[in-house]
Structure formats: structure tokens, C-alpha cells
Symmetry: C2
Subunit: 649 residues, 2 copies
Amino acid sequence: MDFSKLWLDYRKLADTRRRVIISCDHSLKDSAAFEELQIAMASMVPDAIVVWRSEVFDDDSYLIVLTIHPELAEEEYDIAASANITEICAGSETGLLYGVFAFLRQTALAGKFYSFTAHSKPSQPIRMLNHWDEADGDIERGYSGKSFFFINEELEINERTVMYARLMASIGINGVVINNVNVRRKAKLLLSIEFAESLANLGELFARYGIKLFICPDFAAPKTLCGLDTADPLDENVIEWWNTTCALVFGKIKNLGGFLVKADSEGEPGPMAYGRTHADGANMLARAIKPYGGIVIWRCFVYNCTQDWRDKKTDRACASYDNFIGLDGQFDDNVYLQAKNGPVDFQIREPVHPLFGAMKNTNMIIEFQLAQEYTGQQKHVCWLIPMIKEIMEHHTCHDLPDDRVNRIVCGVAAVANTGDSYCWTGSELAAANLYGYGRLLFDENLTCDELAEEWTRLTFGDDEKVTAAVKEILLGSKQAYEDYTVPLGIGWMCHPNDHYGPSPWGYEFDRWGTYNRADRDAVGVDRSASGSGYSEQYAPALAEVYGDISKCPDELLLFFHRVPYTQRLHSGKTVIQHIYDTHFEGYAKAEHFAELWQGLKGRIDDRTFKNGCERFAEQLRCAKEWRDIINCFFHRLSGIDDENGREIY
Amino acid sequence: MDFSKLWLDYRKLADTRRRVIISCDHSLKDSAAFEELQIAMASMVPDAIVVWRSEVFDDDSYLIVLTIHPELAEEEYDIAASANITEICAGSETGLLYGVFAFLRQTALAGKFYSFTAHSKPSQPIRMLNHWDEADGDIERGYSGKSFFFINEELEINERTVMYARLMASIGINGVVINNVNVRRKAKLLLSIEFAESLANLGELFARYGIKLFICPDFAAPKTLCGLDTADPLDENVIEWWNTTCALVFGKIKNLGGFLVKADSEGEPGPMAYGRTHADGANMLARAIKPYGGIVIWRCFVYNCTQDWRDKKTDRACASYDNFIGLDGQFDDNVYLQAKNGPVDFQIREPVHPLFGAMKNTNMIIEFQLAQEYTGQQKHVCWLIPMIKEIMEHHTCHDLPDDRVNRIVCGVAAVANTGDSYCWTGSELAAANLYGYGRLLFDENLTCDELAEEWTRLTFGDDEKVTAAVKEILLGSKQAYEDYTVPLGIGWMCHPNDHYGPSPWGYEFDRWGTYNRADRDAVGVDRSASGSGYSEQYAPALAEVYGDISKCPDELLLFFHRVPYTQRLHSGKTVIQHIYDTHFEGYAKAEHFAELWQGLKGRIDDRTFKNGCERFAEQLRCAKEWRDIINCFFHRLSGIDDENGREIY
């Protein structure tokens, strides 16, 4: 089993002490926190022995004291570190583990034991990863190999699973959904006895690392598993089946946190087939698992995926809000609605989902996608953390004590970007998304610069040239990707199905409700009050901005408005010139990133360097396609030449 | 095993005789001709006994006399039929079989024994089907289910194979390639001992029906099968390996006719990898099989399939001619070059391939595609016989005694449209392509009307309403398909990969060399002397026509020229109005065909009727997409409204 340790590859400190003493209650000796310290110290101070308590404490010793303080919250910790002694207190074993990871991170970054204090508790209470792993080992929209959870149609627990749990705990992830929201084939058996033991074992491992285990059940399970002729959530037999099944499942799988459900969406079963509402469906499940402390996370990604492209009235962007806004207040308190960050589907640029702030009496979770489905599929470097941070800090303008998304949601989820590739995420650089995501949810005050620096140095060490280059790549990568791909928020100019590479009209005459309506005169979709009315789903102050061409931010102009190519942006450029300029610039940025990477030869390990070179080559190839095809597309339509005379094919 | 008998479903004649006497040499008693008569008479005159020779010949008897006449050519036959006696003479058992099938066809169409004479020999000496069956049972571009040759990775011979051989012989097919020209996976073992016995058996069955068996070998077999490090056709070890292997293979498989080879094309191996020519490759194989009377059929479908769409100079249409014209006269006499009917790839409208008539010292075979890859995939009815007939009768204008394609080629091949579906061809109506193809090669003087009538009545019986409706559908179907799909010869407006349904720019920015270059002002590719020069590949008289916008036939205008949307056609319409009109008309034709079919309820068997209804429903759905998407595409680009005010979305 061959996999990297990512940011947990503890490097030797500048320290010559011969003893590290870990002092804690006997009960903590078996904790993950204690174990992690042992692992870390063995690498960081390899000449030292690590002992539990000791009478001897001298100049040759480093002392680490671990204590549980009940007055702290479960996930909260306090660190007081010095060059000789560190004390870590926390509200629970999980908090202690978080504290240990924080201590190790700080120490690793410093390269030595040193004096600092830290006090932290998570900014977000729910910090989840959604894996879209299939029980047969494939990963939907997976760009990092096969599943490491499901191998040969069985749920496996092995050293990689343990490493995974350590990695997730180190960045503060506290909930993991291990299977795809599209519940297919053998995953339909996850509620059955077949998976009970392996799920129980995985749950136990996760519990040790403060992670709740979640699964996506088959909403139609009463039919597919039990043979009932209905899955109607108000049917007595259905309710009884779920009650009985959940009693068995939660009885067996002690650390099961609950369910994530994609219902009535893209062909998945749901309550609407029986004339019931999403609330009926979610509450029925929520009641079945309430006795065991479980929660139901119910996705808001619901729309008509068989739209006729001729239909210019139906607007997919409106669908999620329209489907759920009328249900506000109807969900049980252990139901959480999970809405994607934008109204459509993880495009590089969308407005923030209008349900945030509008659903005033419903638990909301926001969902991001670390798997780079529409953002380069982990071949292109595209560090999403600036986007996530921007969205989390976005003001919804709703009448609330704090109208920001991060104060509105009860939690955050992200589609994972991991697989069984050596470096977990296909590209080593893509791991920065995973790292930054977890860290940002734990501490929302971290800046993008700090997160990029932390990850880069923990991953690649302290070579300043490496740090500078990798940080520059990371920090500029998202904007570069946006520049050379889809202009001004229009979205969906990718190849259908695989969502990779440019195909400006690939979705234009299809059933997915994602159109740019570009013609020889204009481009974009009128979603203002005079168009589909989507802009009216926002709080009045935002609706006014988005709904007005003159106020709408440039980067969302074509999402909200249909405009001629000669329309002036706030930037002063015309739409068409903006398109040309950003596409040339975006490609130039990608070229620059590739050059920066080339400069790291010999400064990072060969394997990583080589993998990066291959991926940058592919990024450049593909970015060139994006640049030239998008420019060609709009040039053919508009007939307007580039002001700067650059070649448009 | 459940399959229809297609046009060999012999129906009862208006005849009450009690005896059918077949008189022939003892040696013919086991022939396929004799057996076919027995099978047919048992159905056509079910109250009669069928006997071999007889002393008794009275009013209650029908006498059929079969004789071999060595002065006739092998495949030539003579029939002298009356109400009481029929004499069928032929140059060989195969000729006799053809005569028997002709007699049975005429008798079936008449519904009784009657007086007629016939003398026939095939218009084309080589009449082949190319099956693109994979050894694992899939069929590339197959729209009729799985392979019936290869089942569970083995070559099977069963009652369906026998029926297949009878069907093919009944339409005069005398050569069958059983595996795909792309030689993949287990098909690479076709030259090995593993398939020797089953190929020998299949060859024996085919021989009984006058059909030579062909296979597509792996050109790289010296590497893949034998472990040599080269497949260089001039390498001594390679030559020796082929010589030895062919001696073994042809020794075992008595009825093996030879090889069909796709080399140096779309990733298939070939001689060019070793700096050798197509002639080097083909001749090497030809010499290895010459002692056994074998022939090598070498495909001319060679082009750069990794073209950069930015490259406006390279023209795929030129590639096949450019690759082969310099090799004219260099091929051995048992090598046949097989060129597709057009220069690109089986589009609904292409000019005739420029190699025909230009390769004056090379055996040429023309290749059609009955599998409706680009012509509706056997969901749309698209009877290709009018197109095949038109191409075969096309004047190449080369300086030849007879400049028509049918006098230039030594044979004809077609990609088969069969599979293991009940009706063999997915759609019952698609079988009319198979039937018409074989019949037309045998007798080029048959009109499309006659072929449609023959097939319809043999398939559906003598209901005049059925005959009229089905004939109308068949005869109009190809033009309707052309009308509602791709205008004026431009081609390639289908979905990439699966080649079904409209995607007007689906290939525009791809690597396949198939571009329409449509922009807001103009559409089409300049292939005249001032463009890619493709038109110059034709004989001067044709080059002048194709190369001149004012002379180029309307239906090929956009293949040869780039013109503004307002360009006037010979028809007097503008290009854009022609596009709108044909798309509305083509769809209306498809609607009319579906209505005609609906009118046949109760007049044809339910299974066929229902299958037809489903396929017509799909044809209408898809034709509507074609109509509206192509019209919308050109409307968005041109900005020109339909003169008749019809809705363009």
C-alpha cells in the first residue's frame, strides 16, 4: 500500500533532546492524540525516546502535558507552548486531538519547539466531506483514481483508512459521507446486514478521530431492499420499515451520524413520486433516526433535468429556491438542508445560492466541491479556497443580525477530491484544496495567504523558492482558470458529460437547462425581473444590484443579463474585448505557473515534480484550447476583431 | 434462438399440386440449391411431397430440373420456367443456388408457378459484406444488438449462421468479412490455433453457399502473436512469419478468401511506422497468401485523425487520395484497394471518392455502409439504395472506355447492418438496405422502384396498401433524412463519438478534420483550387464543375465552397432559405412516413408494427431536434429570418 503522508509527513526538528515526555491521565494513553504525538515525535525528534509520564524532567527532556478541561467545549482547545514544555487542554479527546495537531503544525512550521499560545474552537460546527464513491470502487467525478473505501465491492479498513482519518482530523473534518449521493448498484445494500459489520468498524475508527460516519441511503430502500410496493414517506409500512431498519443499523453502527439524501433529483427516487414534499420525506427519515441522535442532510439540488432547450421561460437557476422556499419552517430540527454554493452546479463563477438567508427557519449547510469537476479536474491547478472564503463571507443582505453566509449556515460540506492515487488527490497541488478547506472551516479568520503558506511549507518544507513559487501558483490559480475558461459568469461552456475542456455550445441544445443563448448580436441570459426573475430570489438590496445591468458586478454580468458584445463593463472594456483579454491573460498566467513549477526541479521530490510537470503540460494544452476556442466562438459570432490584433483562429 | 426469416419466409402459393419433383444429378442432391428448394416447397406447396427424380410426371406434379452447364460462368444461371416445369442451369453449384433463389423469388412474387425466363450473371464479381463484429460480441457501430458470429468470445456456428448464409446467398453476397477492421482484444488471436477449427467450420458452411470467408488480421501480429520486435513488412523474420502462418491458416481453413486490412489509420498498426509504404505492407501479405488463391483488401481510409482545428490548410478530404495516388501500379495483382464511397466517412452526402478512375492500374473496391452510423442508426428509416445506385452509376469523367464507377471497380463491399436482434437489422425496414444492396450488385439494371417493390412484397406479402406505403417510405426516406439533417453537403453536424442527433459544432474544435467553419457571414469549406485544392483531385471535367461555385451542384455546394448565407443556389433560393425550407420539409416527410406506417396496423404482424412505431416515434423526436437545432444554429449565426415566418427557436 503506497500513499503519501501529505501534510503529516513530520520532518526532523532542530532539536537534540533525548527524551520527550507525554504526561496525561492513564485514560488518554490510548487516545489518538497521544498516538499522534508518538508518531510525530518519532519523526521530529528521532534521537529521543518518547515516554509516558516520568519522574525525570531535565534539560534533555521535552514535556507535553495533555488534559481534558470540561469547561471547554468539546472541540475547543488551549495550547501554552514553550521551548521546554507544552500544555494542551481541551474539552474532549477530540478537542485534544485538534490541539495536538495544532501544536504539531506550529512546531513543524517553526522547525523547533518554541513559545506560543493558541486558543481555538471551530468556526463551523459541522465540517463535512462528501465522498462520491461507488460501492464497486468507482468514484463519480473522481479524478484521483479509485475508491480507497470500497475495494472489490467491500468496505475495507486498512492502514490507508487510518491515515485518512488522521489527515481529516488534522484539518478538523468531523463528518464524512463515504458513498455517492447517487445510490447505485451495491450501495443500495448499505443499510443491509451485508455492510453492518464493516460500517461499524469504520465508524469506530472514525470515532477515534472525532469523525462521524454518514452514509447515503437509497430513499427507495423499502422497495429495493424490503420488497414493499411503495417508498411513500407517509405510508405506514414504509415508516415502520425505516424505524425498524434504523433501530438495527444505528444499534450496530455506534458512530453513525445519519444520512445524506439526494431525492427527486436527476433520476434519484424521492417523495415527490408519491405526491409528498421534500419535508415529508426528510422528516420521515429524521424521525426514524432521531432516537439515536442522527441527523438527515437533504440536498437542495433539485431541478428539471429534462428541459426542452426551446423553452426560454424555465430557468434552472430558479429551481432550487422555488422547490424549497415554501417549505421553510417545515423541517424537523434534526434535518439540515444542503444547498450548493451557487444556484446551478459548481461552476467557476456563480452568484451565491439564494436560499442562504432566505430560509430563516431551517438548518442550512453549504456545499462546495473540492473535486474539480468543472474547474480542471485536478489536472489544472485551481486553488478554490479564495472562492470558498469569499462565498462564506458574502453578505446576503437579508434582515439578520449577521447576514453573512458563514453566520447563516450550521455547517459546511464539500465533495471530496480524494482517491487511491499515491498523493490522494491525483495532483499534489490539489491537496491544498482539501487542506485549506478543513482549516478554513475551523478557523475562518485565516487568510488565503496564511493557508497557502501553511500548506506549502508543511508539504514541501522550508525552501523559500519553493514556498514562493507554490504560493504564487496557488493564489493566482483560480482567477487564471476563470480567465481562460468561462467568461463573465456565463457558465457551462465545457464538454458535455465529462465536463472537461471547452465546448461553448456543448450544452446549448441539450436537456440540462444550461444555456448561454449566444448569437451574432448578444450573449447571456436575462435573469432580471424582466427575464426569468431569478434575481428577485435575493434580498431586495442584492436583487437591485443583480437585476440592474448598470449595477451588476462584471464577473456575473452574463449570468444575470443578456447584453450585446459591445456592452461596456464597469472596467471600461467591452464585453467582447474583455473576453479576448481575459482569455489571453489567463493562458499567459497558466504558462507562468508552469514555468514557476519548472524552476523547482531538484528542490522538491522527483515524483511530485514529474507529476506536476505532466499536469502543467496538460493544463497548458487544455488552457490553449479554452483560450482559442472561446475566442474563436465569440469572434465567429460577433465578427469583432481583437483591439490588440492577437490571433483569433 | 429466435430470429425472423426476412425475405426468405416462403409463403403458400396458389397451387394444389401434390408432388414437386426435383430432377438433378445425384451429386447435386446434397447441394444448398437442392436443400433450398426442399425448404421452400415445403412452405410454398405445403400439401405436396417433394421428391428427387421420379418416373411419374403427371398433372399433379411440378418438375424442377437442375443442371450444371460448364459453358456458363460460375455464378451465371439460366431459368426457363413454366406453369409445370422449370429448368435451372448454371455454371456451378453456386450459380445453381443463385438460379434457385431467383426462381423462388419470382415464383413467390407471382404467388404461383408461372412462365418466365431469366438469364443472369452478377454485375460485380466481388460482392462483400464487412462485419465490424468484435470477438467479444460487441459490434462497432452496430445498431442491431450483439454479434451472432462471436458469442462468449468464441466463433459459433448454429442455425442462425445457416440462416445468415442462406440470406446472403439469396441476394448474391459472395464474400464476408466476419470481424471488425479495428482488430482489438481477442480478435488478435484469429490467426492463432485458437480459432482455426471454428473458422474452418464456418468457412465450410459459407462455401456451401458460395461465400468466401475473410478475416481482418492484426497487421502487428508478428509482434502481438509471435513476439518479434517488429512488424516491418520488409523484415525477413516478419515475412517468414507471415508465410509460415498463412500456410498453416489457409491449410486449415479451406474456404478462406483472404484478408481485409485497415492499416495506419485511426491508431491501427501499419507499414508506415517502419517507413514503408502501403504497397510494401499490402504486397507482403498478398505474397504470403497468393499460393492459396487469397486476396488482400487494403483500405484507403487513411488520414490524420489528430489534426489541430486551427490548421485551416490541412483538408481531411484530400488525405485518402494523397496517400494512395502515388502508389498506383505498385500493388500486386491479388491486392485490392478498398475506398469508401466518398472522401470522408459515410456522410449522407459526399462527392464520390476521387480515387475511382484515378487509380488506373490498381484493383479497386468501393465501400458503402449499410450500418446507418451517420444516417439514423437504424432508428430512422433511411433506404440507402438510391444513393448507392447513383454513386455506382456516377461518371468519373476520367479518360476510360467506360468512366462510371461500376465499370471501374472490381467489386463492392458494405459495412453490414446486422446483429442478433430478432429481425437481424434492429428495424425491419433496415433489412431493405441489406436486400437492395446485394440485389443491386448482382443486377445493376434493377431500378430502385423494383428493388423496393421486391423487398416489400417478399417481406410483407401482397397487401397493396402495405406495398404502396412501405415503398413510399423507402423511396423517400434518404432524401428526407438528408433534408432534416445536414444541409448542402457540409457534413459532420452530428454528436461526436456516437454520431447520432444534431450537434452543429460538435466536431468544430476537435481533432478529426471535419469542420464547417460557420460564422456570422458564411459557411462551408473552400476545397476549390484556391482553397484546399481538393476539387483538383478529380478528372478535369469534374474538377471544373466542383471547383466553380457557379457550376457546383447545390447538394455539394458547402462541401466544396465557402459562401455567404445569402448566396443563391441553382434552385433560386438563398443558402439560408434552403436550409430552413429543407429542414421544415424533411421533418414533414418524416411525419408523413410515420403516418403511413400507422395506417398499416393490422395489416402487418404486430411485432413488426410495434417495433416500427417505436422507431418512427424516435425518428420524429430526433428529426425535430435536427430541424430545430440546425435552423436555430444558422439563425443565430446569420440573423436572417425565415421568409415564411415559421418558428425558429
